[in-house]
C-alpha cells in the first residue's frame, strides 16, 4: 500500500472547547499511572488503614470503651482522630509520591521533553501547575478521600456523631489541610525532580528528605532537644495542622514555627522550579 496516498490536509477546527494546558498535563499524568496494576495495588494498600479505622469505629459502637483502648485517639471520630489518621498515612504518602512524582520533571529533562512542551503555547506556570496537580491528586487519593468516606461512615454508624461536625467541619478541615499540604509537598518533590535527569536520584533525595529528617527528629526528641525537631519534613505539616484540627502539637516546636518552615520550603521549591525548568535541550 502506498504510504502517502492520503496526503496532507489542513486542520479545520471543530469548534469544540479545548482544555487549558495545565489540565491536559494533569489529566495525562493522572491517567497514565492508574493504568498500571501495581500502582492500583499500592493505592488499595494505602486504603487498608482507612478500612481498619472504619472497622474500629463500627466495633466501638458494639464494644464501647474496649475499642478506645485498642485504637486510642486514632479511632476517634473527633477532628483529632482524623488528623491522626492523615498522620498515620505518611508511609503511604512517602512511597506513592516517590513513585509518582520523582520522574515527572526528571524524565522530561532526560528525554528533552521540555523543549517539546515549551514549543507549544504553554507557560512555565501552566507546566508546573499541571505537574503539581498530579502529585496532589495521588496525595488526596490516600488521605482526603478516605477521610470523606470515613466521615460519612461515622455519621451513619456512630450515634454520637453530628452532621455539622462529621459531614461538614471535618471534611472541610481535611480538604483545606490536604490541598495546602499536598500542594506544598508536591512543589518540594517537583523541585527535587527538576534538579536531576534520573528519577532514582530524586527518590534518594526524597527518602532523605522524609525518612532521614524524621529519624533525626526522633533522635533529637530522645535527647530532649525539641528545637531540633524542626528538621522533620512531614512532621512540620502535621504539627502546623494541629490548630486547624484543634488538637495538641505533634512536635516539640510550636505550630506557628512549623507553618513558617513549611512556607520556607514552599518558597524555596518555587524558586528552584523557576530556575531549573528551561526549554533548553539537555546535552549529554
Amino acid at each position: 500500500m502506498p504510504v502517502y496516498e492520503r496526503g496532507y490536509a489542513h486542520w479545520e477546527p471543530s469548534g469544540r472547547k479545548a482544555m487549558p494546558a495545565w489540565l491536559v498535563i494533569a489529566k495525562r499524568g493522572i491517567s497514565e499511572p492508574l493504568k498500571r496494576r501495581w500502582i492500583l495495588l499500592l493505592v488499595l494498600m494505602a486504603w487498608v488503614p482507612a478500612i481498619v479505622k472504619g472497622g474500629i469505629i463500627y466495633f466501638k459502637l458494639k464494644a464501647g470503651n474496649l475499642a478506645d483502648l485498642l485504637g486510642g485517639g486514632w479511632a476517634s471520630i473527633e477532628p483529632e482522630g482524623f488528623l491522626s489518621f492523615i498522620e498515620g498515612q505518611r508511609f503511604s504518602v512517602f512511597v506513592l509520591l516517590a513513585i509518582i512524582g520523582s520522574g515527572l520533571i526528571a524524565s522530561d529533562r532526560r528525554d528533552n521533553g521540555l523543549s517539546l512542551y515549551f514549543s507549544r503555547p504553554l507557560g512555565l506556570a501552566s507546566y508546573i501547575l499541571g505537574k503539581m496537580l498530579i502529585v496532589v491528586f495521588f496525595y488526596c487519593l490516600v488521605t482526603l478521600l478516605p477521610v470523606y468516606v470515613l466521615s460519612l461512615f461515622s455519621y451513619l454508624i456512630a450515634p454520637e456523631s453530628t452532621g455539622m461536625q462529621t459531614l461538614l467541619l471535618i471534611p472541610l478541615r481535611a480538604t483545606v489541610y490536604c490541598l495546602l499540604a499536598g500542594s506544598s509537598m508536591s512543589l518540594v518533590l517537583l523541585a527535587f525532580s527538576s534538579m536531576g535527569n534520573r528519577s532514582i536520584f530524586v527518590m534518594v533525595w526524597w527518602t532523605i528528605m522524609v525518612s532521614g529528617t524524621e529519624t533525626i527528629s526522633a533522635i533529637a526528641q530522645g535527647l530532649g532537644r525539641d528545637a531540633l525537631q524542626v528538621v522533620n519534613f512531614l512532621g512540620q505539616y502535621h504539627n502546623a495542622a494541629a490548630w486547624l484540627f484543634s488538637s495538641d502539637p505533634r512536635l516539640g516546636v510550636s505550630p506557628g514555627v512549623s507553618l513558617l518552615v513549611v512556607c520556607a520550603w514552599t518558597v524555596g521549591a518555587i524558586w528552584v522550579l523557576r530556575t531549573r525548568i528551561r526549554p533548553v535541550e539537555v546535552v549529554s
Binding site: 504510504v3 496526503g7 469544540r16 479545548a18 494546558a21 491536559v24 524524565s107 521533553g113 517539546l116 515549551f118
Partner: protein
Amino acid sequence: MKQNPRDFVIPACQCIVQKNGEGIIIKANRSQTRIEVKDLTFAYLRDPVLKGVNFTLEPGAVGLLGPNGSGKTTLLRCLLGQVPLVTGQISVLGCDMARHARLARSGLGWMPERGGIIPGVSGVGLVAYLGELSGMPARDAMQRAHEVLHYVGLADERYRKCDDYSQGMKQRLKLAQALVHDPVWLFLDEPTSGLDPQGRVSVLELIRDLAWNKGMGVILSTHLLADVEAVCNEILVLKQGELLSRQTIDTTGVDPHQVFEVEGFGNEEAFLAGLQELGAEVSVDQRLLLVTMDLSNLDGAGDGKSLTPTMGVNAILRVAADNDYALRRLRRRPVTLAEEFYRMVEA
C-alpha cells in the same frame, strides 16, 4: 484560519480573539505569516552566539546552513521564543516574540534534533497529547493525530510504544507531532539526522511536499547541504553567529555565474585577452584554465531573461576560433551548493 465577523484583532500583538458559544479563544493571526528579525544579538553567557542578525522571511522552504556552533539551533530557539530576548526584535506571525511568544507558538511547529519523544506513550497518544497542549480540543487532537501519522507513514505503527520505534520512525514521529496543530511555520532541526539513505529521501519528500505543495513555511536547519538542495528555495548561511549570506536557489532558470574548465594549445595570450574582453576571470588550476563568466554581461543576454544554457560555451568557442587557440577540452564545471557554502564559510 476562518475568520468570523465577530472576531477581532488585538493591535499590540496582532492576535485574533474568537468568540464562540463556549468562550473566547485567542490565537495567532495566521493571515500574517512573515518572520522578521531585526538586530538580533543573543548570548547564553558572555560570548554572543548570535550577532546582529537581520532578515525577513515569507513562507517557503528556507535552509539554515552553517558549521557546528554557528548558532543555527539558537536562532530557531529565538524564533520559537524559548530564550529571553535582550537585544533585537523578532516578530513571528505578527506577534512580538519578546512579549507574545506563547500566542505565536500556536502557529509554529518544532522538530528538535535530540530527544523529543516521551517514553511509555504510544505514537498516536504522544501526537494527540501534544496537539491538546497546542490548544486543540481532545477529540480534534486525536483525529488529527491519526491523520498526520498516516501522512508521515506511521499508520501501522501508531499504537506501538514510542520507545520501540526505530530511529527513522522516531524522526517521522517528531515530524508528526510538529504537524499536528497545522502550523504556519515548521522549524526542523537536523530532521534527517541518523536516517538511512532511503529514510532520508522519504523524510525529505515529506518536507518538500509540505513546503512546495501545502503552502507551509519550513526552516530546515542542517549541515547536510544535499538536504537543503533537495528541499529549499532559499538559504541563510550563518557563521560564528553572523548571517553570512542569503541566497535564492534557482532551479528553473539558467545560473548567470558559470565556471568552465578549458584546456588547449596555440595563441594562449590572445585567447586570454579575448576572454578578458568578455569580462571573464581566468585562473590556472594545474593544466586547466578555469574561466568564470557572468553570462548576463554577454551580448544577447538582454536583462538576464534570455540566457541559454549554451551561451557560455558558444562565447568561449568563438573567442578560441578568433584567436587561433585549439581547444582540447571545454567543460562547464557545476558549482554545487557545497562548493558555494565552503567558499563562503572559508572566505
